[in-house]
């Protein structure tokens, strides 16, 4: 920077190309971390499987700038407990501790296996830990399905308000339509819970308008 030049971009001396390139790369790192509200790049310890990533990227339509200033998140489930009964699974999602953002769209994607015995009801509820480590269960949604493959189940955003810890536990219980429970073999599984076809959450969040909280309190 020329001494005494009054503004940074006027007449700064031309840098040697390598110096300029190194400066630009450093600038790029700062600019990206700042734009993503990060202080340093994340260390990825468990990257999702490539096939699951490819599917997620397809959902997020990369490259299109969404009209709403905010973020879209795809969070893959880690299975907490697929208890003995074929019709009940607990999924855990690790979400980044929510900044001043508001969740306005949530869908749970499940992959149903071809062993589906006709129509099935799925009940989705959420387990959360309250004060003094009391655990409570909140009903979120019930969906009916009768075809194998991927299904996107809409969830109420209000029911997914982030836990401070950022850990979200959802339980999926299913029951066959009345009358055809005989079609259900014991230990038969209907829901894909591992590998590339594991369930994932699709969330859309937007930055809180400044002062929104105050308006609500009033």
């Amino acid at each position: 920077q020329e001494a005494g030049s009054v503004c940074p971009s006027c007449g700064s001396p031309t840098l040697a190309p390598q110096t300029e390139r190194a400066l630009v790369l450093e600038l790029a790192k700062q600019q990206i971390l700042e734009g993503l509200h990060l202080t340093s790049r994340p260390v990825i310890t468990h990257p999702p499987p490539q096939a699951a990533l490819t599917r997620a990227l397809r959902r997020l339509q990369p490259g299109s700038v969404s009209p709403v200033k905010g973020e879209e998140v795809i969070s893959f489930a880690t299975i907490t407990d697929s208890s003995a009964s074929t019709c009940s699974s607990m999924f855990t999602f690790h979400l980044s501790t929510p900044r001043a953002h508001r969740l306005y769209h949530a869908r749970l994607w499940l992959h149903m296996l071809p062993t589906l015995p006709g129509t099935l009801y799925l009940r989705i509820s959420r387990w959360s830990t309250r004060k003094r480590r009391r655990v409570s269960r909140t009903f979120l949604a019930e969906h009916q399905m009768n075809t194998p493959g991927w299904h996107a189940l809409t969830l109420p955003p209000s029911g997914l308000k982030g836990e401070e810890s950022g850990v979200l536990k959802l339980q999926v219980d299913c029951r066959p339509l009345e009358g055809n429970s005989t079609a259900v073999q014991p230990q038969q599984r209907f829901l894909d819970t591992e590998g590339d076809q594991r369930p994932f959450l699709e969330l859309k969040i937007r930055a809180n308008e400044p002062g929104a909280g105050r308006a609500r309190r009033r």
Binding site: G11, T14, L25, A28, P47, P48, P62
Partner: protein, 114 residues
């Protein structure tokens, strides 16, 4: 806005393409593969002050001539971005979630003299 050539002393836009591979960040930034990091650089003599770059209209050309004939420069003018656009980044967060973030004003598209 003219893109800076080595001999351009006047206000112009300096283009740099940054490949995330070069930053060693391709493992967590999934898309795009890189982006344009442009910045504004160069002199802003008084008669160019307030001109929006190459898109100057007839009015601002006349206005610049008037200023150029004014022996007392109105003040210091700087080469600054006059148009920017946002960039949509697909990246992994520390929990392995895929996050799509639209970062506003990320790419400088035009420069001009303040």
């Amino acid at each position: 806005t003219p893109t800076c050539e080595p001999e351009t002393p006047l206000c112009c836009r300096r283009d740099h393409y940054v490949d995330f591979q070069e930053l060693g960040w391709r493992d967590w930034i999934l898309q795009p593969e890189g982006y344009q990091l442009n910045y504004c650089n160069g002199q802003c003599p008084p008669h160019l002050a307030g001109s929006p770059g190459i898109a100057a209209s007839f009015h601002s050309a006349v206005f610049s001539l008037l200023k150029a004939n004014n022996p007392w420069p109105l003040g210091i003018s700087c080469c600054v971005p006059t148009a920017k656009r946002s960039l949509s980044l697909l990246h992994l967060d520390r929990n392995g979630n895929v996050v799509k973030t639209d970062v506003p004003d990320m790419v400088v598209e035009a420069c001009g003299c303040s």
